[in-house]
């Protein structure tokens, strides 16, 4: 038993941050932070055999840059000490690495670090000179180093510890009681019994589903079949859990499959008319893709983990976007980390295995000024500080992407008060795969009866038990810590390296990732390819013994892939895994008996008819009634909006400064720098470029030749998200989201005739219940969004290739004053566009390149200030608020022209106008190379400077090209000024000229988001 701690001699950044946070609570004379390692002997004699004491210095510290403390420090009576430990069973990656490091010195070979004779734990020790209570310390630590769901924070006075050190006996802390005999519970097929279990376990089954289960298991034939196991008239615990996971909203998308009865109030919005829709998914999303099948580049859509397209002669490209909202609400870091690692596994599990080449991330969050402070009686008790969520999810995506060696090339942050309900954490990934693998088409999975079920990667634990059903419920005050998971980037990186090697050798018949529902979902789904599966859970390696049968089946423990491997390949497959440091196990075989059988050794646990498991679900019936545009009532705002004087050149400046620093406009660059956006060496257009490296590009562009594609071929990826329009009309919101995503890829040089879209819906619960009085309206909003989306896809001829929905983004809980509060996110749709850049040399940056270039606006100016950043920042009584609906056909025409213009090298820069309107786009165009611009805006109206309802671009054109340019864009362009070398922005407006320094404007723009991050 050893305890050591290490402190850096150089890096005190965390110490400083903690000290600063503690100072808010009281005076701090000094604060020291040390990393602690606890080492326990799992097998007696291991420490001696390893000569552990002599290894500690060598393994755990760097004599050049650190100091080490063996055992406990010499406690000082006047100081306060804190220990932060992981709770038992929580993933501790540093401990895993520490164990692996110690194993290097072991004379004996150990199959896995989990089997090693020494058990390591990592944590923190803090020494504080100052007077603080446990409560104050917890408050500070829960904002930074610790999470009550994951950690134990121990606080003690030095004076107490000197007398009696209660921390000395730490060995029992992680000790878990031995597992008693595992039992398989059998439940009677009786409504009350099943309802009760449903409630107690949070299975999220609805009444009708429970009746469906009872009917199925009570049928004469099923009863006869089940008699031999003694299950006649019963359902096993494992079966019920398996059905609940498989049938969860998260896995089966029941709302999108439902029968919907839609009606609407009359009003000034596109009428859809009353109608009945059977499956929104089939009627809109899938239909759009079917209607556009003749585009010729669809390889595999909707049926796999990711959509696959043919944008290159040598390789196929695949794309997937996921959300990880509920986990990120509880543990922002772990939630975002497992989100990004999970979507990477979706790519890895696509076809016969694809390699992730880029990540994207979009966060929708609240922020300090839009959320009641900790002291406020309105503060919802369970919800975390928006700043804690922001920092956590940002660091999670940073760690996941960076450590996996996958560049983060595109993304966004969007702030609104209602995202306090649940942060929306969208994580996307793009992958590439060879067209064929050992002569087989790489997108086709095949499983024959007799093929083996192999699972590789991390071990099973209780982490992530009930993730799928949990995310299918609103966030409540009661949550179980089991649903929290922490990702392990390195275990996953090894798994990824191994999988691609195994794929290239032709050993993978089929593959899928273990996400929601664990092996119950992955094997349950794969079984459909052969017609059945027999799964033996006793062969799945466990993190610890204390797991029930059902927990093993549905645990969502991360970093695991499931494979179908032919018997003749399995030895080589397992051998390669061992050599690459990956644990792989054969768990059974695929069959063709039409049954999903689960056993533990010889004990049968489940016998589920495969057809019933996947098709037995009855179709939900949902009513939808659109009440027309609703007035947006913000959940919370600390300070009222500022007033603005009558429009003038000077007031433009006042407004611009405020808008540029608005968190929805301000530069993401300071935070994007935390992400590696160019590992793998293929990022042609990075998120920010130019001399200053602060010029925003509209989309990420990736070279494909680096990944084995054709020379000079590239793809662009971008996103569109406009939830602020949802309160008016989600039809409009959806069209705008598509339009924005398309605008962004087109601006960088992508071909608008070779595009694929990904849709991600994050909705407030649209199902009727007492706590949801406007359910019909929310459902109608979903219908209208689908309709808008469908029309937009058809208009741009851009098919959907993948998508996902998350339908329960609400919070119901108590405020500090004891009142029940419900917060719902606005209906939100993220559209990701993936498009081909046919000539990789012809990409266009989003910022001015050269002084002397002429500046033009492309597209039709609009007047509405509805949901604009200007109206978000200012009270603006005279604003034209009814939003214009887009003319998509006209937009498409402009986008094709822009693409042709880029091919003719007519544009030096191209930046789309979105949040912040025209003035923002003009200012941003200056920031990349610290160039200035002189503008004449005399012919423009005030509203046109700020409106965000159009499809417009700011472009710069060399003087030599002006006449060709004007002819090319005849009727669609408007000359507004010149790029100048002096870094100043000046404009003539309403008879006056106003000048601002680019540096001053940029300073505001750069600070806006950092302020939110640090709040």
């Amino acid at each position: 038993m050893q305890r050591i701690s290490v402190r850096s001699l150089y890096d005190h950044s965390l110490e400083k941050a903690l000290k600063q946070a503690m100072t808010q609570e009281g005076p701090v004379q000094d604060l020291r932070l040390r990393r602690v390692y606890w080492l326990l002997e799992k097998k007696p004699g291991s420490a001696q055999e390893l000569k552990l004491s002599s290894l500690l210095d060598k393994v755990f510290y760097d004599p050049v840059a650190e100091e080490i403390q063996h055992d406990f420090p010499l406690f000082q009576a006047e100081a306060t000490y804190v220990e932060v430990r992981f709770l038992a069973g929580v993933t501790d990656n540093i401990a895993r690495s520490a164990t692996e490091a110690l194993m290097l010195f072991s004379p004996a070979q150990t199959a896995s670090w989990q089997e090693f004779g020494i058990e390591a734990h990592s944590g923190w020790e803090i020494e504080i000179h100052g007077d603080f209570t446990q409560k104050q310390i917890e408050k500070v630590l829960y904002q930074s180093l610790a999470n009550p769901l994951l950690h134990k924070v121990n606080v003690a006075r030095g004076s107490e510890l000197t007398v009696s050190n209660s921390w000395r006996d730490f060995s029992s802390f992680w000790h878990a009681p031995a597992m008693e005999q595992r039992q398989l519970l059998l439940f009677d097929l009786n409504s009350e019994v099943l309802q009760q279990i449903n409630r107690e376990r949070g299975l999220a089954l609805v009444d009708e589903e429970i009746q469906t289960i009872i009917r199925h298991f009570s049928s004469a034939e099923v009863r006869r079949q089940r008699a031999p196991w003694g299950w006649d008239g019963k359902i096993t615990e494992v079966e019920l859990e398996c059905l609940a996971q498989t049938w969860s909203e998260h896995c089966k998308h029941k709302i999108f499959a439902a029968e919907v009865e839609y009606s609407e109030e009359p009003g000034s919005f596109p009428a859809l008319g009353a109608k009945k829709i059977t499956s929104l998914y089939k009627s809109y999303i899938q239909k759009a893709t079917k209607d556009l099948e003749d585009c010729g580049y669809l390889v595999s859509v909707f049926k796999d983990n990711a959509g696959i397209v043919d944008f290159d002669k040598n390789i196929n490209v695949c794309v997937k976007v996921e959300t990880h909202n509920s986990p990120s609400a509880l543990d922002p870091f772990g939630g975002a980390l497992t989100g990004i690692l999970g979507v990477n596994r979706d790519i890895l599990g696509c076809g016969l295995g694809a390699k992730p080449i880029a990540n994207t991330d979009v966060f929708c969050l609240s922020r300090k000024e839009l959320f009641p402070s900790a002291e406020s009686p309105q503060r919802p008790e369970l919800l975390k500080d928006p700043g804690v969520i922001f920092r956590g999810v940002h660091q999670g995506v940073e760690e996941g992407g960076n450590q996996s060696g996958i560049p983060t090339v595109n993304g966004s942050f969007y702030f609104a008060s209602e995202f306090a309900a649940k942060p929306l954490i969208f994580v996307g990934s793009v992958g590439v795969m060879p067209k064929t693998v050992q002569g087989r088409r790489s997108e086709v999975k095949e499983i024959s009866p007799g093929d083996l079920i192999v699972v590789a990667g991390g071990r099973l634990g209780k982490d992530g038990v009930h993730g799928a059903t949990f995310s299918s419920l609103a966030l409540h005050d009661q949550v179980s810590s089991n649903v929290v998971q922490i990702g392990d980037s390195i275990t996953q990186k090894r798994l990824l390296d191994f999988t691609l090697q195994a794929r290239d050798r032709g050993w993978i018949g089929a593959i899928t990732d273990n996400g929601a529902g664990g092996v119950s979902s992955s094997i349950g789904e794969m079984a459909q390819l052969s017609g059945g599966a027999r799964l033996d859970l006793s062969r799945h390696p466990l993190k610890y013994e204390q797991m029930e049968y059902w927990e093993m089946l549905i645990s969502e423990s991360q970093e695991r892939m499931s494979y179908a491997v032919r018997p003749e390949h399995v030895q080589s497959f397992l051998q390669l895994a061992r050599e690459m440091g990956v644990e792989a196990s054969v768990l059974g075989e695929f069959t063709d008996g039409g049954v999903f059988e689960v056993l533990y050794g010889t004990t049968p646990l489940a016998q589920l008819d495969l057809h019933f498991l996947h098709e037995g679900l009855s179709r939900m019936k949902i009513k939808a009634h659109f009440q027309g545009p609703q007035v947006y009532r913000e959940f919370y705002r600390e300070k009222p909006k500022a007033a603005l004087s009558a429009p003038s050149a000077r007031v433009v400046s006042e407004a611009l400064q405020k808008v540029l620093s608005s968190p929805n406009v301000a530069s993401r660059e300071p935070l994007v720098r935390y992400y590696d956006h160019e590992v793998q060496g293929a990022t042609r257009l990075k998120p920010y470029g130019g001399r200053t490296q602060q010029g925003a590009n509209d989309a990420g562009v990736l070279d494909l030749s680096v990944h084995g594609g054709e020379p000079g071929n590239a793809i662009a990826i971008s996103n569109g998200l406009c939830p602020q329009f949802s309160y008016y009309d989600t039809y409009l919101m959806a069209q705008k989201a598509v339009d924005e995503a398309v605008r962004n890829v087109v601006a960088t040089g992508a071909d608008p005739e070779q595009m694929a879209l990904v849709d991600n819906f994050c909705w407030p619960d649209p199902l009727e219940k007492v706590s949801n009085p406007d359910a019909h309206h929310k459902m109608a909003q979903l219908v209208r969004a689908c309709e808008g989306l469908y029309q937009a896809a058809l208009s741009f001829r851009a098919p959907f290739v993948s998508g996902k929905d998350s339908m329960k983004n609400d919070f119901i809980g108590k405020t500090k004053s004891g009142e029940t509060v419900k917060i719902s996110v606005p209906p939100t749709l993220l559209v990701t566009a993936l498009a081909r850049v046919p000539d990789a040399e012809k990409t266009t940056p989003g910022f001015f390149q050269k002084a002397g270039d002429a500046v033009y606006i492309l597209g039709q100016l609009t007047e509405s200030l509805y949901a604009s950043v200007l109206s978000e920042e200012f009270e603006w009584a005279e604003a034209v608020l009814t939003p214009e609906y887009p003319n998509l056909a006209k937009h498409g025409e402009l986008y094709r022209k822009i693409h042709a213009g880029i091919q003719k090298n007519l544009l030096h820069s191209c930046h789309d106008i979105s949040e912040g309107g025209l003035m923002t786009a003009l200012a941003e165009s200056c920031f990349g190379n610290d160039l200035g611009v002189h503008l004449d805006l005399s012919s423009l109206s005030w509203n046109q400077l700020w409106s965000e309802t159009g499809a417009l671009f700011v472009v710069s054109v060399s003087t030599a090209n002006r006449s060709v340019f004007e002819a090319h864009f005849a009727g669609q362009c408007r000359h507004v000024g010149e790029v100048v070398s002096t870094p100043e922005m000046s404009w003539r407006f309403k008879g006056e000229v106003q000048t601002e320094s680019v540096a001053a404007l940029k300073a505001r723009w750069v600070k806006g988001v950092t302020d939110v991050y640090q709040a």
Partner: protein, 245 residues
Amino acid sequence: MSIKPKFLVLWGDGINCENETALAIEAAGGEACKVHVNELLKNPRSLQNYQAMVFPGGFSFGDHLGSGQILALKLENTLKTELQEFVKTRPVLGICNGFQTLVRLGLLPDADFQRSCALVKNEQGHFMDRWIELQRNEQSPCIWTRSLPLKFVLPIRHGEGRFVCGEESVLLRLLARQQVVLRYSEDVNGAVAQIAGVCDPSGLVFALMPHPEAAVQDWHVPFAEKAWGLEFFKSAVEFLRSEKR
């Protein structure tokens, strides 16, 4: 046509820049052989089949216990004799995490398995990805930088890239012996003397925090500037070709 020198490109355990590093070596006229750490350790003598060795960037073992620490322990345990021999005559390059590993191994700055320097967390306290101007020391014996101009840009992508020396005397010695090969034109991470890359006294073993393999094509550079990264690998290929053994 001369024979292509064989470069061992290490990968596995969280190293993640092996592919682009291999592409750069090939483009420079070398033969890149990606060898998994475990494969190399299974047969340590196989190291002598290569004329040069590259430790690419990445996050070996997640930077846990300190960047490069566990990979260094792993290599030292099994490969120490072979590495000792190798570095006497053959070029070795460490990039980013490779630099961290070489410093932990004590192969830099003096190729004697003694640790005297460290790469600690950036002064900013976090990872960053940005392009930065570097200045090359003309007097350096480094064989990896011979064909580079005096100033050029490369991307840095690290959280622990701040170079420090345990003793002031070590820094003075590195400067005096021209082992400081590259310095940042501005203070980017708090590194002592703005050091970005160092070599051993022979000039064969060299490592740097910036990523030359990510600055191979002009389009890699996010502004109008030439990419010079390929020259590192060309210099080594040139060196190996001109060597007479």
